[in-house]
Structures are given as structure tokens and as C-alpha cells.
């Protein structure tokens, strides 16, 4: 199932996450996008409480 060695590298985090179509890139996109929800709700709260 999980391939420990992709291309010529073994035991490498990014190579390990790269397990076939899109696994690595979707992971990285998720890391980038998820915290934006937090920023969104924090800003919403601030605006509703009367921030400028």
C-alpha cells in the first residue's frame, strides 16, 4: 500500500507523502487553505463586535 521509497529516495518525508496521483499536492493545499477558515471566522467576529 504505502511505498517507502519513491523515485530514488527512501525515508524522505515529501517522497513518502508522494504516493500517487495528487496525494502530496492535496496535502500541501490543505495545509495552506485550512487556517484561512480560522482567519475568516476571527474577522467575522471582529466585524460583528464593531471593529472598523
Amino acid at each position: 500500500m504505502w511505498e517507502a521509497c519513491t523515485d530514488v529516495a527512501c525515508g524522505n518525508l515529501f517522497a513518502w507523502l508522494n504516493q500517487g496521483p495528487l496525494t502530496l499536492t492535496i496535502f500541501l493545499h490543505t495545509v495552506v487553505v485550512i487556517p484561512m477558515f480560522f482567519i475568516y471566522f476571527q474577522e467575522k467576529k471582529r466585524l460583528e463586535e464593531g471593529g472598523e
Binding site: 519513491t6 523515485d7 530514488v8 529516495a9 524522505n12 515529501f14 517522497a15 507523502l17 508522494n18 496521483p21 495528487l22 496525494t23 502530496l24 499536492t25 492535496i26 500541501l28 493545499h29 495552506v32
Partner: protein, 483 residues
């Protein structure tokens, strides 16, 4: 374009000097391109006198340098408007301009007359570095760093002095820091070609697909306020959205250059999806420019005026930029950004097609627009309208570059299918594909369209020199008539 008469700030007068050199180098770029295009069809042309490698080197270096000149000029032009102050170190700024121009002249003369050196460090220091786009010899690299430090000092400390820090200036200051710093990644030598190209792309990609794009976003924001009187809140909100999307896709989009240069396979995925998203902000920029234009035009008409546009040639070039950026950088880039496609298109005329339309659509257009804004300021014109020459320049240059792009795309397709997919690359495969009629015809059309572009450039240069005088005369006559 020859006078600065009506400009109040020294910073803006300096900007005009940058624009003047930029337009000369733009002309040089087109002439060199013409020589290279002729050599594709008639390889004996200037053989062993002025070879393709020399013409091509000056072609792409003139391109980068005229754009940097126009970019520095644009920033010097907007500093007083955005900060309300003269640039803090203007005397130093002027000195830096002359040093840079002298250095560029020497570098170009060495390129043209000395061309190549022996395989030694001294060639890298004094003749050329032999790395595409970054050919400037090491001494010139150091000079560029010094000049850029002066420039950045002016931008940063004038920004600090301003009472109200605008969003446009904030983005400009932060982005220029990254833009200037990245140049350092291209200034070392290594025996390892993969390492070499890894860092080389840090400069090239993180310039043209990240920091330069954000730079264009800030210029467009400034220009929309200046030309249309667009509302600052809206423009600056869009600017932050553009920064978000451009850097979000562009920084890791760097991976699409790391598919085949010896770097690990995991770059396939990173490069593929992040760079596939790079067109998204370009769509947003296009929508934004048209939205503001339409909105301000509506307001103007409701108020009884005929147009909201205070500088129609600049607006025409900026609208061309909005669409050209999307088409050249976005569509033509997306064509070959996925590794499944790129394994065949990498290193073919496909890249050349994309390069031509992207540099033109994303950068040349808006920088020409900024030059028209400069002319308007220099002559104190209230409302600048297009002359016949402005229209000819706009039409011929756009038509010419689009024509070259289409021709090179066809050449690229032929090369991809025959040389790469069918024959698998290599010496014979390369020349078989180069000699097929479809490829040769495409190269012929590229030459024709290149000449069209050059004629358009002549109109452009002529117009920039004369439009200020023409329009300001008309304006004062009409004022006299109504009085």
C-alpha cells in the same frame, strides 16, 4: 517624452529618464529578435560574425533590462503620488541612474563585440555568465545590486516618511524587497548543473511568475486610480486578493520547473497543481480592471461627462495588459504546465511561444501604459486622447506579437509531435523536425509578424515623442476657444 516641464517632483523627472532608456532598449530587443528570426530561416546570415547565440543573448537581456528600467521608472513616478513626498535620496537616485546606464552600455558593447571568452573565471566576471537571462557578468551583477540598494533605500524611506501608508505602497515595498533579494540567488557558480538550474529558477520563476506579477498588480491599482479615479478601497481590496492568489499559486508553482532537471519526482505533483492555479489570479485581475472601468464610466455618464478615462492610450494598454496577462501567462502557460504534457513540450518552440506572449501581455503592455501616464504628467495634460499613431502602435504591436505567438505555437506543436513524441529527441530527430515544411512556414510567419511588431514599435516611439506636444497644444487651443 523629451521634456519634464510640468512635473513637480524630481522623483518623477527621474522616472522619465528611466522610461527614455527603456524605450531605446525595447527597440534594441526587437532588432536583435529580428536577426535571430532571420537566422532560423537563413542560417548563413551573419554566421560566425554575429551568431544566433549573441543575437539571442542581447535579445533577452535587452528585454529584461528595459523592463527593469520601466519598472524602476514606474515606481519613482508613483512614489510622490502615493506618499505625498519627494523621494528622500533623490540625488543618490540620479547618480545611480547614470551609473546603471553606463554599466548597461558597457555590458551590451562587450556582448556585441567580444561575445565569448575562454573557459575561465575571468569570463564569468567580465564577459558573460552564460546563464540564460542572467548573462550579465559578475561585475555588472555587483553594480546592479548597488544600484538596486539605492533605489530600494529611496522607496523604503520615502514610504516610512509618508503620514498615511497606502495599501498600494505597502504591497510595493514588501514585494520589491523580495524581488531585489531574489537576484542574489543567481550570482554564484557551481559545477553541478542541476544545482545551478535549481537556483537559476528561483530568480527567473519567482520574478516573472510571482513578484513581477504582484508588481503589475500594484501598478494596475495605481493606474486605475490615476486614470479613472477608481475608489481606493475597492482597488486595494482587489490588490490584496491578487497578492493572496498570485503568491499562493506562484511560489510553489516554481515546482513546474523542477520536473526534469535532476530534482526529485515529488516536484511533479507540487509543480502541476500549484502552477495550474496560476491563471486564476490573472482572471481576477482582468475582471477587476474591466469592473472598475465599467463602474467609473457609468458614474461619468450619469454625471453628464462623456468618458471617465483621463488618459486613453494608457487605459488601452492597461486593458490590453489585463487580457494579455491572462492569455499569455495564463492560457499559454497552462497549456504545458502539467508534467504529462511538459515531458514532450519542455525545451521546444512551445516555450518560446509562451515566453513571447507572456512577457508582452503581462509586462510590456502595462509598462508602456505607465510611459503614457508619464508623458501626460510631463506635459500637464488634463485629458489625454489617442492619436492616429497611438492607435497604429497599439494595433500593430498587439497583432504582431499575437501573430508571432500563433506561429511559434504551430512550430512548437510540430516539434513536439515529430521530434519528441514520434522520434524521441536527439540530434537527427531535432533536425528532421526543424526541416519539415510546416515548421519552416511557421518560422517564416514569425519573421513576418516580427516585422509587423517592429513597425508598431516605430509608431510607438514616435507617438511617445510627439503625443505630449500634440495633445497639450490642442488642449490649450480649446481652452482659448471657450474663453
Amino acid at each position: 517624452m523629451l521634456i519634464n516641464g510640468q512635473l513637480k517632483y524630481e522623483s518623477q523627472k527621474l522616472a522619465m529618464n528611466y522610461f527614455r532608456v527603456a524605450i531605446v532598449l525595447f527597440g534594441a530587443q526587437l532588432l536583435m529578435g529580428l536577426i535571430a528570426a532571420i537566422q532560423f530561416l537563413y542560417p548563413g546570415f551573419l554566421f560566425e560574425l554575429f551568431d544566433f547565440s549573441v543575437a539571442r543573448m542581447v535579445h533577452i537581456n535587452a528585454l529584461v533590462v528595459w523592463m527593469l528600467y520601466a519598472m524602476i521608472g514606474s515606481v519613482y513616478y508613483m512614489i510622490p503620488d502615493e506618499t505625498g513626498h519627494e523621494a528622500v535620496g533623490i540625488a543618490l537616485g540620479k547618480l545611480a541612474f547614470w551609473i546603471l546606464t553606463a554599466a548597461v552600455t558597457v555590458v551590451v558593447l562587450v556582448y556585441i563585440f567580444i561575445q565569448v571568452g575562454s573557459g575561465s573565471e575571468s569570463t564569468i566576471w567580465f564577459i558573460n555568465e552564460g546563464r540564460e537571462y542572467l548573462e550579465a557578468p559578475r561585475w555588472a551583477d555587483l553594480g546592479i545590486v548597488a544600484v538596486v540598494l539605492v533605489f530600494y533605500y529611496n522607496v523604503f524611506f520615502t514610504y516610512l516618511k509618508s503620514e498615511k501608508k497606502t495599501g498600494i505602497m505597502t504591497v510595493m515595498v514588501a514585494n520589491l524587497f523580495a524581488l531585489a533579494g531574489l537576484y542574489l540567488c543567481g550570482m554564484f557558480f557551481t559545477d553541478n548543473i542541476s544545482m545551478d538550474q535549481y537556483w537559476w529558477w528561483w530568480v527567473i520563476h519567482l520574478w516573472v511568475e510571482a513578484t513581477w506579477e504582484v508588481f503589475v498588480g500594484t501598478l494596475a491599482a495605481y493606474a486605475l486610480i490615476k486614470i479613472l479615479g477608481a475608489k481606493r478601497e475597492i482597488v486595494e481590496m482587489w490588490l490584496w486578493i491578487e497578492v493572496l492568489m498570485l503568491f499562493g499559486s506562484g511560489i510553489l508553482g516554481l515546482g513546474h520547473h523542477y520536473f526534469w532537471i535532476g530534482t526529485p519526482e515529488y516536484w511533479w505533483e507540487i509543480g502541476a497543481l500549484f502552477s495550474a492555479l496560476e491563471p486564476v489570479p490573472l482572471v481576477a485581475m482582468f475582471v477587476h480592471v474591466l469592473y472598475d472601468w465599467g463602474k467609473e464610466q457609468g458614474h461619468a455618464e450619469a454625471g453628464g461627462a462623456d468618458t471617465a478615462v483621463k488618459n486613453s492610450p494608457a487605459m488601452a494598454w492597461i486593458a490590453s495588459n489585463a487580457f494579455g496577462n491572462f492569455l499569455g501567462a495564463g492560457i499559454w502557460g497552462f497549456f504545458h504546465t502539467l508534467p504529462q504534457v511538459n515531458i514532450y513540450t519542455h525545451g521546444t518552440q512551445f516555450t518560446a511561444a509562451h515566453g513571447h506572449l507572456a512577457f508582452f501581455g503581462a509586462y510590456a503592455t502595462i509598462l508602456i501604459g505607465m510611459m503614457y501616464l508619464g508623458v501626460q504628467g510631463a506635459y500637464g495634460i488634463k485629458k489625454m486622447t489617442m492619436t492616429f499613431k497611438s492607435k497604429m502602435a497599439l494595433f500593430l504591436i498587439i497583432f504582431g506579437v499575437l501573430g508571432m505567438t500563433v506561429a511559434l505555437t504551430i512550430a512548437g506543436y510540430e516539434q513536439v509531435l515529430v521530434e519528441r513524441a514520434d522520434l524521441g529527441g536527439g540530434w537527427d530527430a531535432f533536425f528532421i523536425a526543424q526541416e519539415l515544411p510546416w515548421y519552416v512556414q511557421a518560422q517564416a510567419w514569425r519573421l513576418v509578424m516580427g516585422i509587423v511588431t517592429l513597425v508598431g514599435f516605430v509608431y510607438l516611439a514616435w507617438d511617445l515623442l510627439t503625443i505630449g506636444q500634440e495633445v497639450s497644444q490642442k488642449e490649450s487651443e480649446s481652452v482659448a476657444a471657450t474663453a
